[in-house]
């Protein structure tokens, strides 16, 4: 991250994408070794979660963008793990374009922000930057229901439009699941935004979400047809990534249950002002400390490097540098 910004842009928009690219190039090999795809999925999932969480706590713009790349790469690998190989290629192109732009713009924005933050003092600013949400005015149960149902319906319809039998593919269901979480999170994050016209805000959010989902689904489908024109091979990829159907269904139900309960609890906690309790603050502070220090991985790495170099120095001195 201490390198020149154009180099970072090249790295994050180019070289790091090779993971998804290589898995696609070796698709015939992965089809024959399905178990590896399950490991790929787990590695991608863990990387996506850790990268995204770490990104949220970085104060350095470039570091935040770097961890964002880590999260995106994790998601890309995860897509390969569920058999959506071509989706990973579309993802890497899209990610390369937007991440390169973000990196190249980062320096200029920092320079301008030093003179003037340039952020208008309006509702969006107070909500996103100052973190001052409006007091709850809507019934929490209704909001929770909208949060959970609306993204699910949009995603289902978008997928149904492209391929009616998509529910037979476990990979498609898993991706649908992540899309649903993302959409629900979007509504959850914005439901307390200060606004004069709540209906207008929600309509805009839903329209943009629908456009994104439809665009993503259609383009991904087009990539699938272009990269893997043989329907039998496409089916084999999904088949190789699949797991036992009962186990898969159980897993979906379990994870859905955990997430739904988590969201319901979050709405409930806001309503009951649980977030103002001291134990909550302490828990949050500890978690924040760990992730803002990058889970101490950088510290451990720096310590190990210092020890290794000091050790090599000692050996060299004993050996009189010969």
């Amino acid at each position: 991250m201490s390198g020149p910004t154009p180099v970072s842009a090249l790295m994050h928009a180019g070289i790091v994408n090779s993971g998804g690219f290589l898995i696609n190039r070796f698709a015939p090999l992965f089809v024959e070794s399905g178990d590896v795809l399950h490991a790929v999925f787990v590695v991608g999932l863990v990387t996506a979660i850790i990268g995204s969480v770490l990104m949220l706590t970085q104060h350095d713009v470039k570091k935040a963008l770097g961890y964002s790349t880590m999260g995106q790469m994790g998601f890309m690998i995860m897509e390969c793990g569920v058999g959506a190989f071509s989706l990973a290629v579309y993802h890497l192109i899209a990610h390369g374009l937007f991440k390169g732009t973000l990196f190249l713009s980062a320096g200029g924005i920092i320079g301008e922000a030093r003179k003037d933050d340039g952020v208008p003092k309006e509702d969006l600013y107070t909500f996103v930057v100052e973190r001052k949400p409006a007091r709850q005015r809507r019934p929490w149960l209704l909001m929770a229901a909208i949060t959970l149902a609306v993204p699910g319906i949009i995603l289902f319809l978008a997928h149904y439009l492209v391929e009616q039998a998509f529910f037979e593919k476990q990979g498609a269901v898993a991706l649908l699941f992540f899309g649903w979480i993302t959409g629900a999170q979007l509504i959850f994050a914005t439901h307390r935004m200060r606004t004069e016209n709540l209906t207008r805000l929600f309509t805009l959010i839903l329209v943009s979400f629908t456009v994104v989902v439809l665009g993503y689904t259609l383009i991904a489908h087009a990539f699938d047809l272009f990269l893997y024109p043989d329907p039998a091979f496409r089916a084999r990829i999904y088949e190789a990534a699949g797991i036992d159907l009962i186990f898969f269904d159980l897993l979906v139900v379990l994870v859905t249950g955990v997430i739904v309960l988590g969201w319901l609890f979050t709405y409930y906690a806001e309503q009951q002002r649980l977030t103002e309790r001291s134990w909550y603050h302490e828990l949050r502070r500890r978690f924040y400390r760990a992730i803002s220090r990058e889970l101490y991985v950088s510290d451990a790495y720096a310590w190990l490097s210092r020890q290794l170099i000091a050790g090599a120095n000692r050996v060299n001195t004993i050996m009189r540098w010969h």
Partner: protein, 249 residues
């Protein structure tokens, strides 16, 4: 008789502690061209000796060689003097020539592949020693500002020395890795680890010499003619590397 021959070869294809002789000699030689000569000739003598042995090299020599190579690669990460660093990387690289000994003509080529980029780096290091008295990170920081032409070439030289792809030592390393006589996960892991250590040590040198604020102002940069000659040399190295790749792999 063969064992004695192997032990003598261990001086030239350095196995620790026999390797200390080469490093002592290399440290004492100050003239860049003498260093180049030593870097090119030393392993060739070892390969020649190996080809004279009647018996095949015992298996345990390969383990000894891998450990020697790893030991010098590890020691190189603490170095801040470029001359010593070249000696350590050479020791580490040549020790690998014991792993999966191939037919003599190819073995000479493998050794040459390891030596050539290091010889170029040694030649370029002469510039620092002439100007600053020593090629040490404590004396030569901030070269990118003080002597940009030299700094650019030095970055390429260090990248070449640590076996960056397309340079001849990369193909020598790859040929060693893919040698059927020594193909095993343990050796492959060891080789990759050694390569990683070379790279780490090289980047530490670049950090010390190329980046940062200049330690000394008013330093005279390489002349344009010398820059073109060195650049042509590196292009030549790349071409040799690509050709070697075709022969070795």
């Amino acid at each position: 008789m063969s064992l004695t021959l192997y032990l003598i070869a261990g001086l030239f294809l350095p196995l620790f502690p026999l390797s200390m002789l080469f490093n002592q000699m290399f440290a004492r030689l100050r003239h860049p061209w003498l260093r180049v000569l030593l870097l090119l000739a030393w392993p060739q003598i070892g390969v020649l000796l190996l080809s004279q042995a009647a018996d095949p090299v015992p298996d345990w020599f390969a383990g000894w060689a891998l450990l020697s190579a790893a030991f010098y690669a590890y020691r190189a990460i603490a170095l801040r003097e470029v001359g010593l660093w070249i000696g350590y990387i050479a020791t580490s690289a040549w020790a690998l020539l014991w792993i999966g000994v191939v037919e003599p003509s190819l073995h000479h080529l493998l050794a040459l592949g390891f030596s050539l980029p290091l010889a170029f780096t040694a030649l370029l290091t002469g510039f620092l020693e002439q100007r600053l008295g020593a090629a040490h990170t404590a004396l030569g920081g901030g070269m990118a500002i003080a002597a940009p032409r030299f700094a650019g070439l030095f970055v390429v030289a260090v990248l070449a020395a640590v076996a960056t792809p397309l340079f001849p030592n990369f193909f020598s390393l790859l040929a060693t890795l893919l040698n059927p006589a020594a193909l095993s996960p343990l050796f492959a892991l060891g080789l990759v680890l050694i390569w990683l250590l070379w790279t780490w040590s090289g980047i530490r040198l670049l950090q010390g010499i190329v980046v940062g604020s200049p330690v000394r102002n008013g330093l005279q940069d390489l002349s344009m003619t010398a820059t073109w000659v060195y650049s042509a040399g590196f292009v030549g190295l790349l071409l040799i590397g690509i050709n070697m790749g075709g022969v070795l792999l």
